[in-house]
């Protein structure tokens, strides 16, 4: 499979539910190996947009390509080529660490040899060797999230989608998590991440802010701050989301 030049391309991607437009003709591009932050207020349409990009929901109009496949026409191929991790669900709590890794590796069609190899590799990298046989339930939250991220990458996807992966995690583990993100990006994986932590927005190569279903800002953190004459991404965010609150 040839590596696409752009990891994610959205062209006027739209989704309507009845007469409510959740996502209103958004267009953007994400380059391969980029860490892209996808921000927006609750209810701005982020979740719906991500669902479309991950092949879970079909667009009402417009199109998007993820890892070279059209999300509307080839959702199954999209799913094969991406990894996904969300805050609400990441791993099965009543399975052991090793079982989780093996399961997801198997689901993505890796050979037995590959599964074994990557499992050991992952356990070593995360230094989870001694806990390999423990139920995920017994791991502290921070470790669970790190493991979940690694599992999302176990089949070597071109793009990985992370939905608020660091919610509620302690500040040190949060940063370790982002170092894992950087490492994955350095190895060529495109990381598409949403977060409510505004400081994490600064860690991204580029970011976008959604308001009411449309993309209101897009660019590098520096560009966005310049455009809105803001000291921080949080300031820019507040300006966009609550224009009336800004003096």
């Amino acid at each position: 499979m040839s590596t696409p030049r752009k990891a994610v391309v959205a062209r006027d991607l739209t989704r309507r539910f009845g007469d409510f437009t959740a996502v209103d003709a958004i267009s953007f591009e994400v380059a391969q190996g980029e860490v892209f932050g996808f921000l927006g207020a609750n209810g701005a349409g982020k979740t719906t947009a991500i669902r479309m990009l991950t092949g879970l929901l079909g667009p009402t109009s417009g199109s998007a390509e993820v890892a070279g496949h059209d999300v509307g026409r080839e959702p199954e191929l999209v799913k094969r080529a991406i990894g996904y991790m969300s805050q609400r669900f990441s791993l099965y709590e009543d399975l052991t660490v090793r079982e989780n890794i093996t399961l997801f590796a198997g689901i993505y069609g890796l050979s037995d040899l590959e599964i074994r190899r990557r499992t050991e590799d992952l356990l070593e990298r995360l230094q989870l060797g001694p806990q390999a046989g423990s139920l995920v339930r017994s791991l502290p939250l921070g470790w669970r999230q790190k493991l979940a991220f690694s599992v999302a990458l176990v089949h070597g996807p071109a793009v990985v989608f992370l939905d608020e992966p660091t919610g509620g995690v302690d500040p040190i583990t949060r940063r370790q998590f982002w170092e894992m993100i950087y490492q994955a990006a350095a190895e060529g994986t495109t990381v598409f991440v949403t977060t409510h932590y505004m400081d994490e927005a600064e860690y991204c190569d580029r970011l976008s802010i959604m308001v009411d279903g449309r993309i209101a800002a897009i660019g590098t953190p520096a560009e966005v701050k310049r455009e809105f004459d803001a000291e921080s991404i949080e300031d820019a965010f507040v300006q966009l989301v609550r224009p009336e609150a800004t003096p």
Binding site: N42, D170, Y197, S232
Partner: protein, 319 residues
């Protein structure tokens, strides 16, 4: 002499094999806006539940409004306002119906208590006939807050009210809390967001069932012992790598736009160290780095306390 509204001594609580609270001692004064700050699993929810009379401690005592949380359970329930972690109102009832139900459950009516909840309720009143399940995250929190306040409690216990809510709604929520505190209400809030600490009168940093510090945020920060510097510019992963290689490094972590470097020479001169670092980084091929002294924030303090409490296995980079 201000009244003490919450007095906790030697509190311990386990769930099966897990020790959730490992000996908590603290006092909360009347009219304070007090924060429990810490990650998930630190024990914040368990602590709040015990104060709300929803659970019994295994060891130790807790007194709220000068009443024992175990013995005086029914009396306390009239006086305490509680907002649990998840959204715990009825999604298939409307905003109005939810509020009315909770008013009645506490033996009062919405009309009687309107001025108490008005500043919050006014913001969601236009949606009062909408089903609670159809509200956005921020509005749900405001409704839950109104329901917790509707019976005019003497103390408010809020368990992670801003989790999962966007930055703007979080700010607005804390503005509301500040207003209520100005009116004299004692408020206890738990949150995983470090930046919210600055909005509290005092905070307790909680980690793994223990408190790392209990003080006004300014004082916690002022006690930060190490020289702190902010490093910016150029190749961030590279900067991080080189900083961690520096002989006197205590820790180096990304902090938004910049990297925070903490030197292990306690009491050292930040300006001098800045010079050292700039020279070092230039030698290592990163001349465009800019190093300036930085005032520590709550997050820096928390991370330092965490490491000290748990040992170095949590510090440093990913394996």
């Amino acid at each position: 002499m201000t009244r003490v509204d919450v007095a906790v001594q030697g509190l311990r609580k386990s769930f099966g094999d897990t020790l959730a609270l490992d000996g908590i001692d603290l006092e909360i004064r009347s009219g304070e806006l007090f924060g429990f700050l810490g990650p998930d699993g630190a024990g914040k929810t368990t602590l709040l539940r015990i104060l709300a009379t929803l659970m019994r401690p295994d060891e130790g005592t807790a007194r709220v409004l000068d009443r024992d949380v175990v013995r005086d359970m029914w009396e306390l329930r009239r006086l305490v306002g509680y907002m649990p972690g998840r959204f715990s109102l009825y999604p298939d009832l409307t905003v109005e119906e939810n509020l009315r139900f909770f008013a009645t459950a506490f033996g009062t009516t919405v009309e009687k208590q309107y001025e108490v909840i008005a500043p919050i309720y006014r913001q969601i009143e236009p949606f009062k006939t909408r089903r609670a399940g159809a509200l956005s995250g921020g509005m749900k929190q405001k409704l839950a807050l109104s329901c917790a306040l509707v019976h005019r409690p003497e103390i408010l216990l809020l368990d992670e009210p801003t989790t999962g809510v966007d930055a703007v709604s979080r700010r607005e929520f804390w503005d509301l809390l500040a207003d209520m505190r100005a009116g004299g209400l004692t408020i206890v809030v738990s949150t995983p967001y470090m930046d919210e600490a600055d909005r509290c009168d005092r905070v307790a940093l909680v980690q793994r069932g223990r408190t790392l510090a209990i003080d006004p945020p300014g004082e916690i920060v002022a006690r930060y012992p190490l020289p702190l510097l902010a490093v910016k510019g150029g190749d961030r992963p590279g900067l991080l790598r080189e900083l961690r290689d520096f002989p006197h490094v205590h820790s180096a972590f990304p902090f938004g736009e910049t990297l925070h470097y903490a030197d292990n020479r306690t009491g050292g001169d930040p300006a001098g160290i800045a010079g050292e670092l700039t020279a070092y980084l230039t030698k290592r091929g990163l001349p465009e780095a800019v190093v300036v002294p930085e005032t520590p924030g709550i997050e820096d303090a928390f991370m330092l306390l965490m490491v000290t409490a748990d040992g170095p296995d949590l510090a440093g980079g990913a394996a």
